[in-house]
Amino acid sequence: MHSLVQYVEKGYHHLRQSNRLRTVVKDRYLRDDIGCGSVGCLDCTYGGSSRATLSDDETATNIHIIPDTNVLLYQLDVLFHDEFLRKRDKLKGSQYTMNMIILGSVMEQIENTNRGKHRKIKTLLQKKRPEEEEWDEYGHSHDDASLSKSKSTKINLDKDIFHMYTFANGYHKHIYKPRKKGQSLNDYSTDMLLRTYHWYNAHWQAKLKQKRKMFIICNNDPNEKKKYFKHLNEKKDNENDEEKEEEEEDIQVLCIDELLAKFYAPVDEIAYKLLTDCLSHIVITSSMDLSRGFFSSSLAFTNHWSLDRIERELENSTIVKGKYLSLYVRGPGENWQGSITPEGHTYKVLIQGLSNINRAVHDDIVAVQLLQDTDEQKDDNKVKTVKGKVVGIIARNWREYVVSIEETDKKSGIVKCIPMERRIPKILIETQQVSNLLDKRIVVRIDRWDADSMLPYGHYIQTIGKTGDFEVETQCLLIEHNIPNTNLWSDAVLQCLPRNDEIPESERNNPKRRDIRHLCVFSVDPLGCTDIDDALHCLELSNGNLEIGVHIADVAFYVKNGTPLDDEASKRGTSVYLVDRRLDMLPSLLSTDVCSLVEGKDRLTFSVSWEMTKDGEILDTQFYRSIICSRAALSYRMAQDRINSQMPKDDITDGLTHLLAISEILKKKRIEKGSLVLTSPQPYFRLDKETKKPTKLEPYPMLPTNSMIEEFMLLANITVAKQIVSKYPSFAMLRRHPYPSPNMMEPLAKCASVKGFRWEMESPKQLNQWLNDFAKKNQHLDILIRSLAIRCLTQALYFTSGDVDPVQFFHFGLATDIYTHFTSPIRRYADIVVHRQLAASIGIAPLPESIKDRNRMSVICENINRRHRMAQRVGIASDELYTLMFFDGRCVETDAVISSVDRLSIDVHISEYCMERKIFIVSKNDADNDNGSAWKFDDKSLILYRVTPPAVQYQVFDPVRVQITVHTTKATNQKKLVVKIIGDDNASKLFKPDIENEDIHQPANAAE
C-alpha cells in the first residue's frame, strides 16, 4: 500500500443560512502514487497510469503545457480545439507534439469561481478521453490485469487520443502545501502551479533522464506573465543562500498567443490562423483599441451598475429584474426595442432605443429602471406596458451564434458578423482569414461588450460551411435551435436495443398479453412513413355493434425505464422532422423496425378498444397489451381509394368504411362540443431524388382519411388520459391547452370588426361558431382566418397533473376536459411515460418509482415542452429554407391576401405556397419625417393609405397580386426571399426593393 499521509485541514467556519455557525473539518490525504501521466514513465505505473496520455514519442519533441486558471477559464475554445492537440507530428511532418497537463489545483480554483465553466471543462475532458472502465480495482493494485489494461490503453494511444492529462497535484505528497495565513488565493494557486512545474522537471529528469520542454500557459496579458517571475523572485529572496542553489532552473511562461505563434505559425499556417481566431478577447488588444475610435461615437453607452448596487436597488424595488427579450429585427423599419416581464409582475416593460437597451442581448437577465411610474397603471387589470431603461446586467446568457461575415475588403483584422438570429446585434470578431470566411456560415461567441463600443466583441469558433448549401443551412438551423444533429447513439444506448426484431418467447407466452393476430389490423399513415406507431381494427359484432381497436406500438416494452436508452430518449424528447430528414428520438432499429407496425410482421402493441354502437356511442372500453400482425400499411391516399372504389369488399375496406363513418359522427360530436377546426396548411415539398432540391411546393393535401385517423387518435388519447388521471391524480402526464387571454385575441377581434363582425369569445365553442360564420360569408378567407386564429392561441403544454389545478386541465383547442398523448410513442417521449402509467394503472406492470416522483415528472415535462417547441420551430425554419430554395431562380406571380396591416408594413398571405411575408411599405425615413409621413395608418379600420397622390391604400383582407423572387443580399452574400406587390401600378413604384435598404438603419453604420 502506498503511504497515505493524513493531513487534517484546518477547520473553517461557515455561516449557514440559518445564521448558525458551523465548523467544517476536512481530511486531505496526500499520496505519492499519483502518476506523472507520461506514457514512458515506468515508475508511475500506479493504478492511475492507465490514464497516462502524455506522449513519449521520441521521434518528436514533446512540448508540455500547463494552462493556468485564467487561460483555462477564458480560452477553452482554443485549448480544446481539435486542431490544438492534434497529433501534429504525423499529419504535418512537424516535429512537435503538444501535450496538455491540467492541474487539479487549477480545476479546484475554477470550481470555486465559476461552477458552470467547471462543469463544462469536465464534460470536455470526458469527451476527449478514452472510455474508462469502472475503477473496480484498488488504485494501487499491481496485478497483471491492471498492467495489461494499461498496455492496451497504450496501444489505443496511437490512434486519436488527445495528449491531455489531469494531474491531481493537490493530493501529491511532494507538491501539496497548505495555504499560508494571509496568502491570497491567487498567490497560492500560482505557488502550487510553480511547485508542480518544478516537480515535473525534477521528476522527468530523474526518471526519464531527459529534460522536457514545459511551459506554463497564461492568458494573453503581459501582466499575467510577470506574475510568475515576480512570484519566483520573491521566493528566491525568502529562501536565500542557505537553501540549496538548485533554484536556477528557470521557468518558462508563455502567453497563449505567443505559444500559438511559436509552435503553430511556422508549421501550419492554417491551423495557426484558425486557432488565433478562436482566442477570446478578454484583454483588449492593440488592434481592437484602434478600432474603438472607429466604431464608437457620441452614442456610447452608460456604464452598468455594479451587482451590489443592483441588489440593493432591487431590494428597495426601485428597479425590476427580468429576462430581456429583444424585439429588434434587422431590416428596414427596424426598431431597437425589447421588453421584459419583471419577475412576479404581470405588466410588461418596454425598452426602446439603443441607449436604453444599453447592451442587453436577447435572453440576458437584466435590471431595468422604469422611466415612468407604474402605480397609476396598475389599477387597470389589463396588462399594461411601461417604458424602462436597462441599468445593469445580472447574467449574460450568451450562447454560440451562427453568423456570416459582412462583405469587406480587409484581409485580416476586425470584421462585422451578422447573426442568423435577427434578434442578436452584429458581432465584431478579429480574424486572420477573412477571405476564408467570407461566404461561409461560422459560429462565434460573444466575449465582451464595453460601454465605449457600439457592438459586442466576440471570437470565432468554427466554420460550418458555405452559405447557401443545403446541408450547411440545415446544420445552422439545428445549431441555432440547439438540437443535436445526430442519428448516432452511444454504445451504452445501443446495448439496450434488442438483438433482432423477433418477439421474445417469454413475451409471446405472457398471459397478460393478448394474442390478436387473427384480427384484421391495418395502419394508415402519410406516404413513405417508416415509423408507424398506430394501427386500427374494426369488427362488426354479432349484436350489430362495432368493436374498434387502436393499437399503438409498445415502445415502453423495449425502452425500459431508467436505461441509458430511456435517458437519451427523454433528453431528446421528440423526433425532429425536417423537410429532407428526420432526427429520431429512438435508434432507427426501434423506430423503423422493431416498434414500427409494418405489414405482415408480428409486433407488440398497447391497445385501446371500444365497443361502440353504430351511432358512435361508447359502450365499453378496454386497455390491454397485445400482439398484432398488421394486414396492410396503407397511405392516406390508398385508404381513400379503397373507400371510394366500388370494388369487391374485403375485410380491410369494410373496416375502413365503418371507421370513416364512425369518425364522421365523432367529429361532428366533437365540433358540437366546441372543438376548434383549425387547420393551418402545411407546405409540402416534392424533392428531387438526387439533388434534394425542391421541385414542387404545394399545400399538404388533406383527405377524409386523415381526419379519420386523427379522430380515433384523439379518442384514444382522451380515453387514456381519463384512465391514468383517475388512478394517479398527482403525477399523471397530461397535456393541456390554456385559454387565450383576451388581449391575445385582440388582433383577431380587430380584423373581425373590419368585416363587420361583432367579437365575442368566451368559450372555444363560441370561437368556433364565430369562425364558421365568418368563413361562410367570406369563403376565400376561410383558411386565412383560421391560421390567424391559431396564431392568437397559446401553445399546448405537457404537465404533471399534480402541478396544476384540475380546472385548468382543459384543452382549449379540442374542447375536452382532459387530454394526453398516447398514440406516438416512437416519436414523442411523453407517450412513453403515458404508456408506463397506463400499464401500471391496469395492473400489468409495476410503476417505476421515478415516475411516481412529481418533481422529476415536472422536470421531464419542462424538458419535453422545450424540445417540442424547438422541434416545431426548426421544422418551420426548415420549411422556410426549402421555400427559399424552391423560389431560387424562379420568378412567380401569384395572388395573395393581406392578413395584417400596421404602421409601416403589411403582411400578405399566399395560400398557394402556404407562406406569409411581411412587406415594408413605408421606409423608416419616411415614417420619421417631421412633416408627417406620406402614409397614414388608420388603426380602426386597419387601412394603410397614402395621403399624397397617387392614392394607394391597403386594408386587411384586401386581395393583392404579388411577385416572389429571390435576391442575394450584397452585405453577406445571402439569399433572401423577396415578395413585391405588383398589379397595382402605383404601389409598385412607391417602394424600392427592401434589400438595398437593409442596413441603412444599423446604428454602427449611422455612426460612420
Binding site: L4, Q6, V8, R16, R20, L21, R22, T23, V25, K26, D27, R28, Y29, L30, R31, I34, G47, G48, R51, I102, G104, M107, E111, R119, K122, T123, L125, Q126, E134, W135, E137, Y138, G139, T166, F167, A168, G170, Y171, E343, G344, A492, Q495, C496, N561, G562, T563, P564, D567, D803, P846, P848, E849, S850, D853, N855, R856, S858, V859, E862, N863
Partner: protein, 290 residues
C-alpha cells in the same frame, strides 16, 4: 461541493474509491474499565469502554439464564458534530446505534460462557466525521478484546455506497418562478468508508435515493444507498447489515463486495494493534525480552 470523482479518479479528500480513511486504534485507554479502546477513522473519533462480564443487575428486566446480556449505551459529545447541536437531539440516533451494537455482539460474543451475567459497552463519540456506526462497532470490538471476553472472531464494520462519476444538473423552475437545481447522476462508482461530506451528499439528493426502479440490471438511474456492514472477517459471516435507503437487489452484491474490501483493510490494522498491545503486555510481564 464536489459531487463526484475528480478527473484523476480521486475522491474529494484524496482517497481512491476503495481506500478507507486512516485507521488508528489503541487498546486499554482507561485502565479502570475492564476493557477499553480508542478508534479513529480519519477524523471520526470514538472511545469504547467495556464493563463485565459482571453480575447482571437484578433490576435489569432480562436476566439471561443461559448466556450473557449485552447492553450498549452510546453518547455523543456536544462538540462531536460540526454544528453545535444540543445533546438530546442525538438521543434517538444514539439509542438506535446502541441497540445495533448490542445486537451485533450478542452474536459475536460466546455468551454461553457468561451465564446470568451482563456485559456493558459504553461508547463515547468524540468527533463525528461520518460512519460513526462502523467506528463504534470497531471500537467496541477492540474494547471487548481488551476486556478478555471470548468472541468467535473479530467483528469489523465498514460502510460502502455509491457516488456519481459525473453529474449534470437540470434547471427547473417551480411555481413561484424560483430556479431549483436537480442533480442528475450519470454513472455510479462504488466507494468505501464514506465521510460526512459524502454522506450528506446522499441526503441532499434524497429524492434520488427513493428513486431506484424495479430491478432491471442497467435500469439504475441513481442511487446513494449506503450500507454499513459488520462482518467476521475470518469466517466471512455478516453480523450486521444496516441500510437506510432503497437499493436494487442487483446492486447489493456489488456494494457488499466493496464493503468487504474495506473491512479486510480495517481488520488487518485492528489485528496489528491488538498484536502490538499483546506484545507490550507480554513484554511488561517479562515473557519476552525487549
Amino acid at each position: 461541493m464536489a459531487t463526484s470523482l475528480s478527473e484523476s479518479g480521486l475522491r474529494e479528500d484524496g482517497r481512491r474509491p476503495h481506500e478507507v480513511r486512516r485507521v488508528e486504534c489503541k487498546l486499554c485507554v482507561f485502565p479502570h474499565a475492564d476493557g477499553s479502546a480508542e478508534f479513529r477513522l480519519g477524523a471520526t473519533h470514538v472511545i469504547a469502554t467495556v464493563f463485565g462480564p459482571r453480575q447482571a443487575s437484578t433490576k435489569a428486566a432480562r436476566v439471561n439464564e443461559d448466556g450473557a446480556t449485552i447492553t450498549c449505551r452510546v453518547q455523543s459529545c456536544e462538540f462531536s458534530q460540526s454544528d453545535h447541536r444540543q445533546a438530546n437531539k442525538f438521543r434517538r440516533r444514539d439509542r438506535l446505534l446502541g441497540d445495533l451494537i448490542a445486537q451485533t455482539f450478542q452474536c459475536a460474543v460466546m455468551t454461553n460462557l457468561y451465564a446470568k451475567s451482563s456485559i456493558d459497552i459504553c461508547i463515547e463519540i468524540l468527533t463525528n466525521d461520518g460512519d460513526i456506526n462502523s467506528a463504534a462497532i470497531n471500537a467496541a470490538c477492540l474494547a471487548l478484546i481488551n476486556a478478555g471476553i471470548c468472541m468467535k472472531d473479530y467483528v469489523v464494520a465498514c460502510s460502502a455506497g455509491f457516488i456519481a462519476k459525473s453529474t449534470r444538473s437540470l434547471k427547473q423552475t417551480n411555481k413561484t418562478g424560483a430556479k431549483t437545481d436537480h442533480i442528475m447522476f450519470s454513472g455510479l462508482q462504488g466507494i468505501v468508508d464514506l465521510n460526512q461530506q459524502e454522506k450528506n451528499l446522499s441526503k441532499h439528493s434524497s429524492y434520488s435515493s427513493t428513486n431506484i426502479s424495479e430491478g432491471n440490471e442497467s435500469g439504475l438511474e441513481m442511487c446513494n444507498g449506503i450500507v454499513t456492514v459488520a462482518m467476521m472477517p475470518n469466517s466471512g459471516e455478516i453480523v450486521t447489515l444496516e441500510m437506510q435507503s432503497v437499493l436494487p437487489l442487483s446492486q447489493m452484491e456489488k456494494l457488499l463486495s466493496f464493503a468487504k474490501k474495506g473491512i479486510n483493510s480495517i481488520h488487518t490494522q485492528m489485528a496489528a494493534a491488538v498484536k502490538k498491545h499483546s506484545f507490550m503486555l507480554l513484554e511488561r510481564k517479562g515473557f519476552i525480552g525487549s
